[in-house]
Amino acid sequence: MTTKAKPRTTTPRITNKRPISISAVVDAVGVLASLSTRGHVYLYDTNRTAGSTGFGTEQLRTKVKAGDTLLWSPLALECEAYVAIDGIEIDPAVAEPVRKVYPGTDVSYWTATVKSLPGEEVPYRIRYRVGTRTEPVTSDQSSFLIG
């Protein structure tokens, strides 16, 4: 005798637009060896289908609109290494990123709401904290928000 699974009707949960997550994959050993992020940081976002480009480079161009929520977080290429974002240098008229932590942890992320976008693309730079080095390392090349 076979038993058939009872058919179950499921519907995908309806959600609002997701915040745009920007992840920086950091090769901590490479950054510490050269004290530069060139070739050692890979940026990605979750808005590729809307038109973001430059995936896997520092010069990620993230497609945004005024009112979008952005969320930056780092990811260490080797799980034993420590990587955090120390700051994000961007025109405060466009966005003012602030540091927050996941509740109950000391793991941080940075978040901002896009206030307004000028006609051209907006460059920004990320400062990273890597390993036990006390001075942050600023990204070698700018990343961009594009309208």
Partner: protein, 260 residues
């Protein structure tokens, strides 16, 4: 020298579920860029595995591969292990404390208790029913991307559970180049399980392998929320080379170090 090689599989889970494909939604990395790996950070990673052999031709070193699947645009893998379960417990305790405060409040004070009760109900969040038939995420609550619980009546975007590798197969396995298996581990970042493989470096060449990866889609069945597994596959490559075992200091054959 025996070496632990890590391959990170970064999946844009939201877009992969929408497209029902891992193609263009998966980015692979390894820690062998300086040793010759190509296409780091793309879906076309070729991992370099540099083996060595003794003068009689037998394999001189054992290379070990480890795979770490991560989710792009979810809670990061660096939050403490079992974070979703811990957050579920914390918010339950908070709701109980709020409820106690509400009960102990003298009558006639404060606003409408039913409004306060509704607020407590929202702060409890939404529990996802565990699905024991699959090795899916543990029963916990829906969290958003900042670690807060998502109320049942809210349509706030949620964080996806990390992808799970369920199998590794294909040319490299059929040809007996790699011997992959899943292991239990006290590792803090992979929730206790990881895929690992030893490599036969005696037959140089480029070999493809395929990973079966399980993602989880949040669905509603009546009033219940469930993580529905979605199985997808993704291909990657290994390029095996092998050279005679040599002294890493002198570059010459094996012997005593030139100490004076």
């Amino acid at each position: 020298m025996p070496q632990q090689l890590a391959i990170i599989v970064l999946v844009d889970v939201g877009n992969a579920l929408e497209a029902k494909s891992l193609e263009d939604n998966t980015y692979l990395f390894d820690n062998m860029k300086l040793q010759g790996s190509e296409n780091e950070g793309t879906g076309k990673l070729v991992t370099a595995i540099n083996g060595s052999y003794w003068s009689d031709g037998s394999q001189a070193s054992e290379q070990v591969l480890n795979w770490l699947p991560y989710s792009l645009g979810s809670l990061p893998p660096t939050v403490p292990r079992g974070y979703e379960v811990e957050r579920a417990r914390q918010t339950d305790q908070k709701a109980l404390a709020d409820l106690e405060a509400l009960v102990n409040r003298p009558a006639g004070q404060g606003a409408d208790p039913s409004a306060d009760l509704a607020q407590i109900q929202r702060s409890v969040g939404t529990r996802v029913k565990s699905n024991r038939r699959n090795r899916g995420p543990a029963a916990a609550k829906i969290l958003d991307l900042t670690g807060k619980v998502v109320p049942a009546d809210s349509s706030a975007a949620h964080s996806y559970p990390a992808p799970v590798i369920t199998d590794i197969y294909g040319e490299a396995v059929d040809e007996k180049i790699i011997y992959p298996a899943e292991y239990g581990s006290p590792d803090l970042v992979t929730d206790g399980w990881y895929w690992s493989a030893t490599v036969d470096t005696s037959r140089p060449g480029t070999y493809a392998y395929t990973m079966k990866i399980q993602l989880h889609k949040l669905v509603e069945s009546g009033t219940e929320a469930l993580w529905e597994p979605v199985n997808l596959t993704c291909e990657s490559w290994l390029r095996i080379t092998s050279e005679p075992k040599r002294n890493g200091f002198t570059g010459a054959g094996l012997g005593l170090l030139p100490l004076s």
